[in-house]
Amino acid sequence: MPTVHDWINNPLAVVDGLFAQSNSSPDWEKKVVEYFKEKLKLNDAHTWVPSLNDVPLYYLKPNSLVKFRCMVQDMFDPEFFMGVYETNDLTSNSKQVKCGKYKDITVGGQVDFNSRNTVTSERQTFYCVPIPGESQWAKESYAGTSQARVVPSTSYVPNRHKRSYEEDDEMDTQPQQLKDVSQGTQSSAESHGNTEPKRQETEAPSHDSSSAHCTSSLDLNFPLPGEKGPACLVKVYEDWDGFKLNDMLEVFGILSVDPALSVIADEREASSLLDPTEVTETVEEQRVHSPPPSLVPRLHMLYAQPLVHNNPLLPSSAPENNGDHLSSVLGELASVRAELHTYLTHVLMGDSLAAEYLILHLISNVYSRRDVLPLGKFTLNLSGCPHSSPYTEHLYKVIQQLVPSSYRLCMSLHNMNNQRMVPRKDYTANRLVSGTLQLANNTSLFLDETQLEQGQLDATGVRNITALGNLISWQKVDYDFNYHQMEFPCNINVLITSEGRSLLPSDSQVNLRPTLNPPNLEEYLSAVQVAQVPSQFNKYRIYLSGARALNYTISDEITKAVEEDFVEMRKDDPQSMSAEDLHRLLVVARLLSLSHGQNTLSRDGWMKAKQLEALRISRTQQQKSLSGNEP
């Protein structure tokens, strides 16, 4: 067990120490960052840092080092602060030079604003929210790897908190096993020895319920409805231009929850009457930009790691390492793929073609853009899903189990007309009001068109449909800034389930053709799920995230062959093979190769892709003629 380190519990002491040593030479700032980077690099040191994602805020020590896995939801204006300031201690009448970096509030004595030692610096504030739509299994797995020992000011033991999570969560089909493995023997002993009063103690202030309470008064601006977790104001001290909206980050920083930061609105108004210079911010703006730190803590960033993915089962570092990692599992990759295929076939009621396409869809990824054209996206439309049946819901649950983050959007008329999908700038509060389509990269968006009923779309509905269409065709969302629109590129995997052909565009439409007809759908599906060993799920997860990150090339030889093939196909029937078809075929070939763990397109892979497409097209055409016969 790691001992609790000083640099975790009291990082500001380290900062102040380095500052004092520096004799006001400016390179101390770099030293601080270096120091923490070094510390975190040490074997698994980052797992000792408590995470805001799974430890409730009130258990964390103020001014301690914490980490936060989050998405940048909004960027506030840069602010100037006192990087170095001098205080007058009235009692001893001595002056002291202090460092204001990584702090919100000055400490000790009267600040001397006229000191020559004052250095003004600049920092940027990001409003960060937990990664929207993060699956339960991902959250738990992250929490499971944490070895943080939070020294409790209250009688807090991390394990017990996790128990309360388990009980909260009904959807958790994950057996105990996973956690037991990571937490070792001690935790299981603890969980058994849980007595009733203790449990009450931990559950009463449970974070989930408390945040639910407070959101009624303060909108935490989560992109998806019904999200939980802390939002955080992250103060960034360097290279803030390198971060982008909707980036996924793991932030290591110093937690600041000084209650003095919270400004009570009416007190504010009273003072603004006194002083006209104070009216720069409206009450709404105040609420957004200085919310109570008990709800929205401040985090002074020391170091942030951009997350390429949020799959806890894969190392979070650079993608090239991922390749190695996957190739170590590559031996069994073929079998994992086969098992996943069988599993999905069962879930899709015995339709193996649809299962194949679903795998391709799940590993698709916008890997590049040529001017406006996103390359590598693969939007799948599963048509032929029964109307208003619980089937799509179950299908979504299966996908949720496989991908690290996902969201199901029921395209009911009410949702389309009322939900805010496109983020919009609220100029009164000066913030970006989030919408459903503000999602991190590689989130699976499950559009359930079977929920659509007859009726009229109003203006919002039409806008929403347009936004969804743009998202699918161009992988971009135009955020509404009232006076103008701003385009934000995104990388979202869209899966549409519909009865007939979807009203939204899609790259590929597969008509579902069930070969099984179980009398009780729910029983059947849960039986299919139970049949999977949990470790099996983990393999699928690693496989899907890993295959997506693989590199891919096409050799010159194959290029020639593909060209020949295209010319040949057009010779027979130019109508059957347009440029668009070739686009799709190339994407299918790419994904098919990747799904087999191949880095390059082989002749064989190309033929397979063609077969697959031919099969799919013939099925769609059959369906067309079938439905054509119907009145």
Binding site: M75, D77, E79, F80, F81, M82, D104, I105, T106, V107, V111, F113, N114, R116, T118, V119, T120, S121, E122, D241, K244, L245, N246, A260, L261, S271, D275, P276, T277, V279, T280, R370, D371, V372, L373, L375, Y427, N430, L432, T466, N482, Y483, M486, E487, T553, I554, T559, E563, F566, V567, R570, K571, P574, S578, A579, E580, L582, L586, V587, R590
Partner: protein, 846 residues
């Protein structure tokens, strides 16, 4: 707003023992408890102070972070004269004109003059050589500064100035002296001074202005007033002239603001997103003693009023009461400015800044305006709680605005190319020029356009020319109005030929582009609609896509799916370049100088090569004739093409991004190239080019006349001119030469060949586009009508005939097959001649 006694505020300059109620000791005690929150914030000992040391004055630099007032209070050198009030020089003209407080400069900040020679006790003045009087904390000597500025006003000429504001002035005479004359005529006591003029005149003065605006601008005020009343002693002005510098080159972008800019003069551009209500800010408080009715005035000091504790007349303590009605207030307004979208890096959200406007600048701007502002950047510490000494270690920043300049103001009236001119660095311009000098620049640029779309070279070239546009010509004086300079292009063709992609690309390329889809847009969405503002309950005009893309390109997808009603508004826009609106009591004409790039699908979902363009896309010919170029994007269906297409597409999927970069110019260069050409190149027709154009036109007409057809109309000539001009722009050439005309001719011919070929004869027939029908088709129509007439006449005197009977007779008689449509058309033609009428199933002769 101004109390009548404001003149009395003027005191003679240096009087050591001021009668100011704020006597130094009392101020000192105040300073102690208020200083924590409201004193101006110290700047960091910025590096630029070191750089500034090469100044005219040898005076040493005081670190600016030391607060002035601290010295004010404790120093015996407290002269009690803020520089902003030194205006009262003993001259008749100035004395007669009240000085107006400059709230924008923070007039209350004390900046006493320090005689550096006589006071060596200050550690920072010990090197002071000679009798230098500088404003404390700066290197500004009031006398020198004033003299320099007066010299600037008297001598500066800007012979090459193209600025709008200088219109009507003689550019070879001193510019600002003319402006002073203007002030005396107009009576608006504001002198706008372009900082770049000062820079070219005296770089050091400019540096001082940028670094110490708070001290230098009042000095300028003083200088200009002296000069003005010297020249025109009898002028009557509302208040003394205020100098408003603009276009400080220090900062252009909000993102670039940093702590070093604090208290300096900056210029940034942005968009107004919110304006507050008017805030009355007290400038001077009026106190009256409750006991002896003694009156006194107290000026605002850093946002605070020091209430006199003791009446100076009767020595009663706490007897003074504030009289609001007699206090002086100034107007103030908070404005939120947001970064303009063009300045932002991708993937980030725009920044906002708080701006304060004072006095007559209040209510000058509305939300949505694009403006350039010049002002002083300020920062003040924030307190957490009035009762706590702890401070949030964050400063609040804002800009005190001195000058507004709307960048989009003139778009309503006329051309405004320089207002939105993007500033290019010299290197960038040199790079662009180098690119322009290459012989194949035209090909290079066109291939850089939407590289992911395969081939269609001519279409890309057409779009490229559209992006550049022709030269604007104004013929309003001869009654012809503006000549359209924008090039309109229509793409028609099979679905799936990446038309939409091309449109998306163009939309992303141009700064003022709009993208609409014919299906989704209504007439109001394109033009403008009137709505009630939820806040003010006033009717406001909301502009649609066409107006928004003024000076840009409006991309309209699925042009054919547009309702006729919607399409009809395009008629005006595409030729007159204006939009007339008459609804809900608002009647106006808006500029819509937009190029239209439209894409249309054939009606039968597949292009029918046996039909004409009009028949294929079913658009009214009146609209079609307004397009300069109509291209067909067809699937060519030949093997060589297929092979190249496949190669291109496969390459798309395996090439890495670096490879792509190497092959093509990147989008940013293309953007800059176009922006530069649009703003700085205005080609004119050369003699040789006009000859070539005339020949081309005559040739075009000749082709048709041989077959009794009209194959060219003046509109085509205008198109040719525009295309030639655009091509000259691509070359950065100020003259249109014959190679430009050649290319224009070629492109025009190509487009015609594609779209105006009569499928029946194989000839190019412009009348397909201008009248909607090819000449041969019209001829045949007439023949049928004549045949029908003959048939009816041969039947003798029958007043009425059966429709079906007549049709069958005609078919039997004619050699060529006659369709029902043709028959109907013939009947209609005869009805037009008043020869017969058709009622139901019977045909009656008249």
């Amino acid at each position: 707003m101004f109390s009548p006694s404001s003149q009395s505020r003027k005191r003679d300059p240096p009087t050591p023992a001021s009668e100011d109620p704020l006597s130094p000791p009392s101020q000192r005690s105040r300073a102690h408890d208020t200083s924590t929150e409201l004193q101006p914030m110290p700047t960091s000992p910025a590096m630029d102070t070191a750089a500034q040391d090469v100044s005219l004055f040898s005076s040493p630099m005081a670190p600016r972070s030391v607060l002035q007032s601290e010295v004010d209070a404790s120093s015996p050198l407290m002269y009690g004269t803020p520089s902003s009030r030194v205006e009262g020089t003993p001259r008749s003209g100035i004395r007669g004109t009240p000085a107006r407080q400059r709230a924008d400069l923070g007039s209350v900040r004390k900046a006493p003059q320090v005689d550096m020679h006589s006071e060596p006790s200050f550690d920072f003045c010990e090197q002071g050589a000679g009798q230098r009087l500088v404003i404390w904390g700066t290197d500004v000597n009031v006398g020198t500064c004033k003299e320099k500025f007066q010299r600037f006003l008297q001598q500066f000429t800007a012979p090459n100035s193209r600025e709008e504001e200088n219109a009507g002035l003689d550019l070879n005479e001193p510019l600002y002296m003319q402006k002073l004359d203007e002030i005396s005529v107009v009576g608006e006591p504001v002198l706008n001074v372009n900082c770049s003029h000062i820079q070219t005149f005296d770089a050091d003065l400019y540096r001082q202005l940028i670094c110490y605006p708070q001290e230098v601008i009042p000095t300028f005020d003083m200088a200009v007033n002296e000069l003005f009343f010297d020249r025109l002693p009898d002028s009557v002005l509302e208040h003394q002239i205020q100098v408003r510098p603009y276009s400080a080159l220090k900062t252009r972008n909000m993102r670039a603001l940093n702590p070093e800019d604090i208290d300096q003069l900056i210029t940034i551009s942005g968009m107004v997103i919110r304006t507050s209500q008017l805030i009355p800010e007290m400038q001077e408080a009026f106190f009256r003693c409750q006991v002896c009715v003694f009156n006194t005035r107290v000026e605002v000091d850093r946002g605070r009023i020091a209430e006199p504790a003791v009446c100076r007349n009767c020595n009663t303590t706490h007897s003074m009461a504030l009289v609001h009605n007699r206090s002086a207030f100034s107007d103030k307004q908070m404005i939120k400015l947001q970064e303009s979208p063009e300045d932002m890096p991708a993937g980030q959200t725009p920044h906002t800044t708080v701006v304060y406007a004072h006095n007559d600048l209040v209510d000058k701007v509305q939300p949505g305006d694009r403006i350039n502002i010049t002002g002083i950047y300020r920062a003040a510490p924030m307190r957490l709680n009035p009762r706590q000494s702890q401070v949030k270690s964050v400063y609040k920043t804002h800009i005190d605005v001195i000058h507004f300049r709307k960048t989009d103001e003139k778009r309503l009236h006329g051309l405004d190319e320089d207002g939105e001119q993007k500033l290019f660095t010299k290197e960038r311009v040199a790079m662009l020029k180098e690119l322009a000098a290459k012989p194949d620049v035209y090909e290079r640029l066109s291939s850089a356009l939407a590289p992911s779309i395969y081939e269609h070279e001519d279409i890309k070239k057409g779009i490229l020319l559209q992006l550049f546009g022709g030269t604007r010509k104004d013929f309003t004086q001869t009654g012809r109005g503006n000549f359209r300079a924008e090039i309109n292009i229509l793409l028609c063709g099979d679905p799936g030929t990446s038309k939409s992609q091309l449109l998306q690309y163009v939309y992303n390329l141009v700064p003022r582009g709009q993208y609409t889809s014919g299906k989704g847009s209504s007439a109001v969405g394109l033009t403008a609609y009137v709505m009630k503002d939820p806040e003010t309950r006033q009717l406001v005009l909301q502009t649609g896509a066409l107006v928004l893309s003024d000076n840009g390109i409006c991309c309209i997808d699925e042009f054919d799916k547009m309702s006729d009603n919607t399409r009809s508004v395009l008629h005006e826009v595409m030729e007159q370049q204006t939009l007339s609106i008459a609804k809900a009591g608002i009647i106006c004409q808006l500029n819509a100088r937009t190029s239209v790039l439209a894409a249309a699908n054939p009606v039968e979902s597949q292009w029918n090569p046996k039909k004409t363009t009009i028949e294929n896309i079913q658009l009214p010919h009146t609209l079609l004739s307004r397009f300069d170029l109509i291209f067909l994007m067809l699937d060519p269906q030949d093997e060589a093409y297929d092979r190249r297409l496949a190669h291109h597409l496969v390459a798309l999927y395996y090439q890495s991004e670096e490879q792509i970069e190497e092959e093509h110019l990147d989008m940013a260069v293309l953007k800059d190239y176009i922006a530069f050409a649009r703003t700085s190149v205005h080609p004119r027709l050369s003699e040789e080019a006009s000859q070539a154009l005339i020949e081309a036109y005559v040739d075009m007409r000749k082709i048709g006349s041989g077959r009794g057809m009209v194959s060219a109309y003046p509109r085509q000539l205008e198109s040719l001119i525009r295309l030639a001009e655009a091509h000259a722009k691509v070359r950065f050439s100020s003259k249109v030469e014959s190679i430009d005309v050649e290319e224009a001719k070629r492109l025009h011919r190509e487009a015609l060949k594609q779209s105006a070929t009569d499928p029946r004869t194989g000839f190019v027939d412009i009348s397909i586009l201008t009248t909607g029908m090819s000449a041969t088709a019209r001829k045949r129509k007439e023949e049928v009508a004549q045949a029908l007439k003959k048939l009816i006449q041969s039947k003798g005197k029958t007043p009425a005939m059966k429709y079906q009977q007549l049709f069958d007779d005609l078919r039997g008689q004619s050699e060529a097959a006659i369709t029902k449509d043709m028959f109907d058309e013939a009947l209609r033609a005869l009805a037009d001649e008043d020869y017969l009428t058709v009622t139901g199933k019977t045909v009656r002769l008249l």
